[in-house]
Amino acid sequence: MSITAEPTVRPLPQVVATRVQVPRTTKRWIDWVTTTDHKKIGIMYMVTTFVFFFLGGIEALLMRVQLSEPSNTLLSAQHYNQLLTMHGTTMVFLFVVPVWAGFANYFVPLMIGARDMAFPRLNALSYWLLLAGGIVFYATLFWQPPEAGWWSYPPLSSIQYSPSGGQDAWIFLIHLTGISSLLGAINFYATIVNMRAPGMSWGRLPLFIWAILVYAILLIIALPPVAAAVTMLLTDRHFGTHFFDPTNHGSPVLWQHLFWFFGHPEVYIMVLPGFGMISEIIPVFSRKPLFGYKAVAASTAVIAFLATLVWAHHMFASPLPVVVLGFFMLSSFLIGVPTGVKIFNWLGTLWRGSLVMTTALYYCLGMISVFVMGGITGIFLATFPVDWQLNDTYFVVAHFHYTIFGGAVFPIIASLYYWFPKMTGRMLNERLGKISFWLVFIGFNATFLVQHALGLTGMPRRIVTYAPNLGWSTYNLISTIGSLILAAGFVVTIMNVAINYKRGRVAGADPWKGNTLEWFTTSPPPVNNFDVIPRVRSVEPMRDIRRQVERQTGATQKTGGSERFARA
């Protein structure tokens, strides 16, 4: 056994982590399959979920191409319904929720100064259950994929109207990914509560960690009801129960309540970690502390609380009394307040900063500009009489892509650009990154902005085709062209990763002048993460460390490999 210290390019922020090189005795793939290292599990999560993102994207493109012209016969109604079901299910259950689990797996222990997750083997189980869920679901491609939409409203999802096993595969996907997320959530909660570095009180917790803590709590609250609901659906389908069967005193509306009691917190499960990342990346590249740390952290908790009280705004057209509609309108309005507070605080952070325009910051700024639009259309939809016109139309499709794509996918790509150097030790190419950003940003807006107009002119969602004389053709064509530009943007990022994974510039420990502890170790970090865990004295421990070194050495700290992102 030889012990070697990993050399960093400029080791001045005293990174003390040594890599222990153990000669390999097993095959590389066995290492991956048997690993309990949070970093390796995190990488497996990310690779898996990005593969599903790619598949979900292909499904979306197929649908967009089908809709590019009226009366198109490229796809049959059956295939179209299968694609819309798979696209929605994939993006929610197999990409956005678990990709955050992937990032969190890698970075929660690093950011709180821990050496692994609280339950490393449980962590591995979470990953393998996710993969199993994805395989069960995608295996239906060889038989008959489900076609009742990602909400699977009964009676459409009942055995009578969806006899194929695809619907059952969907149920098992919810169960498997649900247990995976639940175990992951318990693990994150235990890790964050118990394993923080000395001095990291709740008021010094990085905001991404706050977000993951709340993400975990929301998952623990939201997943049991949907697990119950899909179990009831399963017994309705195969074991003679009638929970949702109106012909036997069951109620389809019961499903809607149970599903959306999960479904709306799910929205915040997807975007809160995104908000957390925005709150981490913007201060780093503004060279400024986050404006209103307490307000941002508190708003995360308030959003999570309110998120459990707004579910029926998905059901404004269902048979519900007006007083119920009024309650859910008000609770949905209320959730706009903490969300607005976050946006104002991000703007406050940019204000009078010194913005270092990296790709990661581009994606963060893109997120704010896009998410504002989604937040505002949310107010329209929360107003229930207006929702009677807009619900189930392309306006809603536009709205939730502005919120989920804006609030989650932009931050996911921002996190990828921000953390890639830490995970691989290599920099991504900034020029390719910016090209990718502009393609994604322009493609995104071209795809989804016109969809508001489609909804307002009467186009319902989930229709396989439409007649030529309805005034929808031009908007649909613009939207399809936009989706291709959007896809090109992602292809550029994939190329960027593929090219620079091995050949990118060496990053060094702290290429961005980061604020948090993950930068206080080598890139990529060694198995034990840190040799010495520093005492945390503020919400920006890495900055304190840099200052201390500056004081002691009298030298302005340069950062490994990328001075061009340092103070200009």
């Binding site: 404006f291 057209a317 048979p319 325009m357 504002v372 009489p385 207006v386 107009a453 200009a568």
Partner: protein, 290 residues
């Protein structure tokens, strides 16, 4: 150290503006009204559109302020040689200010909504002589005079039964019925009793008001009062299976007298057809073919 290469300063703002403007310009000019919901057919649709427009004005102001601040910050506060970021940690007054400000905007929208609500859910008297709501109880105009039509959603067609007792007699009462195209009198308040026979459907004619789900096991209600004669198009808004896109509905609004005449003719056509079917059945049974 080489000076960092920066993209053109105004790029972001220009791209935002360009994608907005391009989408708006490319939209067909005939479709003048693409930023507000369809309206014009019925008072409830008009009231929803007017409520929407009020929210739109407020939203536009918020949107411009937030996106403007963002664009200004990006252009103004880029890293420059010698620039030092202001180390501000926050400002409690500002936090309270924007929290309260956001809440006040929402209070205003809430008040406006509840002021508008009665005109959206309560049907008016018929102009010619007939009240209703998107609600779980059947609404009625103040004077109680109305035209009731039962709407049944099924895979993948809409069936309409005409007559005040249609809910209890939709199949047995020998009431006139029609498929896909609903015939209604202009100026009369029409109450719709909406049901589904198989899966969930959603009744929606954009110009005549908001959508109402047709849920098996439930009866939901809505109303409209068509202001101008003409044909209004809509389609099922809830995924109901492979024929979802084909589940189209038309509302054909004609004068009350033409409506009466149509009802009589439809009644007669149905009776004739029924008679022919029973005749055919007799023949087939007699021949041993049935």
């Amino acid at each position: 150290m080489p000076r960092p290469r920066r993209p053109p300063a105004a790029f972001l703002a220009v791209a935002v503006a360009a994608s907005v403007i391009a989408s708006l310009l490319l939209a067909p000019s005939a479709m003048a009204n693409f930023i507000t919901p369809k309206a014009g057919g019925s008072p409830n649709a008009n009231q929803i559109a007017s409520l929407y427009r009020i929210i739109l004005y407020v939203a536009a102001v918020v949107f411009v302020i937030v996106e403007g601040t963002l664009a200004y910050s990006i252009l103004k506060f880029r890293a420059k040689r010698g620039a030092v970021a202001a180390q501000i940690h926050g400002n409690t007054r500002l936090e309270i200010g924007w929290t309260v400000g956001a809440a006040l905007i929402l209070v205003v929208i809430t008040v406006v909504t509840f002021v508008k609500l009665p005109s959206i859910i309560n049907p008016p008297n018929s102009s010619a002589g007939i009240q209703l709501s998107a609600a779980t109880t059947e609404p009625a105009p103040p004077n109680g005079k109305k035209v009731t039509i039962c709407v049944q959603g099924r895979q993948f067609i809409w069936r309409y039964t005409y007559g005040n007792s249609c809910l209890s007699n939709s199949f047995s009462g020998k009431l006139p019925y029609s498929f896909t195209t609903m015939e209604v009198p202009v100026g009369e308040t029409v109450i719709l009793d909406i049901q589904a026979n198989d899966v969930i459907h959603s009744w929606w004619i954009p110009s005549l008001g908001g959508k109402v789900d047709a849920v098996p096991g439930y009866t939901t209600y809505t109303w409209f009062k068509v202001l101008h004669a003409g044909t209004y198009r809509g389609q099922c808004a809830q995924l109901c299976g492979r024929g979802h896109a084909a589940m189209i509905a038309y509302v054909d609004a004609v004068s009350p007298s033409a409506y009466q005449a149509w009802l009589a003719r439809q009644q007669q056509l149905i009776q004739t057809a029924n008679a022919q079917v029973s005749q055919l059945r007799q023949i087939l049974t007699a021949n041993g073919n049935l």
